[in-house]
């Protein structure tokens, strides 16, 4: 959906996706390494724009660009969507290779979910064989975790997902952990 939410962090911000971001998103999704665990975008730039048009019309779907605060350079995308009964999913999380925005963009996404949207809980589903991202969520200290068998259809093959879920009761602990690491990382980026 079209929205105007901007979530400011220490070195990065989340800002709404717009039409001008179609080529950037397409580039991320079609990157052979970054897109290994994603559905390929059909139809090139026109297909990506058509997807954005359908996204704009879909309520409860917040799609963001992750960009640097100091120069506005886009480094990735992330979404919160499928919001039902104050529970939502976060995903479509792709960052450029070598972007240092992983921790801060995750932190800002949780901040948006709990502090801006007021959700009771938020979950993230990762292809089980995407072990580094599954590990990232484990490393955040998220205790609620389950396997969803044959959840994703990836290239015609049914594959398992790992679901991590955070409730608003867990948010203060997660906020402290990610906030410290994001702030320390931002200091480093400002030092360079």
């Amino acid at each position: 959906m079209r929205h105007e939410l901007v979530i400011e962090g220490a070195a990065f911000r989340l800002r709404p996706v717009g039409d001008d971001d179609a080529a950037f998103i397409l580039g991320l999704r079609n990157d052979p390494e970054l897109g290994r665990f994603l559905h390929p975008t059909q139809g090139g730039l026109a297909g990506q724009q058509a997807w954005l048009d359908s996204y704009y019309a879909r309520p409860g779907d917040y799609y963001f660009v992750v960009e640097r605060r100091n120069n506005g350079a886009a480094e990735g995308v992330v979404s919160i969507y499928d919001i039902k009964a104050e529970r939502g999913e976060w995903g479509r999380w792709i960052l450029q290779a070598k972007s240092p925005a992983a921790i801060e963009s995750a932190w800002l996404t949780y901040r948006c979910a709990f502090e801006t949207l007021g959700l009771e809980s938020v979950y993230c589903r990762t292809v089980a064989t995407n072990r580094s991202v599954v590990s990232f969520h484990d490393s955040c200290g998220i205790g609620k975790r389950r396997i969803l068998e044959r959840h994703f259809d990836l290239g015609g093959e049914k594959v398992d997902a790992v679901e991590h879920e955070v409730s608003h009761l867990d948010w203060p602990t997660l906020n402290a952990r990610l906030g410290v690491l994001a702030t320390l990382t931002a200091r480093r980026l400002q030092r360079d």
């Binding site: 290779a97 070598k98 240092p100 992983a102 921790i103 072990r131 580094s132 991202v133 599954v134 590990s135 990232f136 484990d138 490393s139 955040c140 690491l181 320390l184 990382t185 480093r188 980026l189 030092r191 360079d192």
Partner: protein
Amino acid sequence: MSRDQVQSEILAILNAVLKREATPDSSRKNLPQWDSLKHVEIIFAVEDAFGVQFSEEELFELDSVENIAASIIAKHAA
């Protein structure tokens, strides 16, 4: 500080952060628990332990025990 001492200290940091036994061959490619969050924790700990600072560009080159050790030795030699 010898290369063996540097490597030994790096392995101790990895073992503490990852809570599993790393080896001199460990890298982000063969140790999935060495994810992007743990990587930041490892690099901060390495900087503190060796009194060095890495640039943003260096962060992503430091993806193995071998590369971290080589970078520290080079910085101490400079």
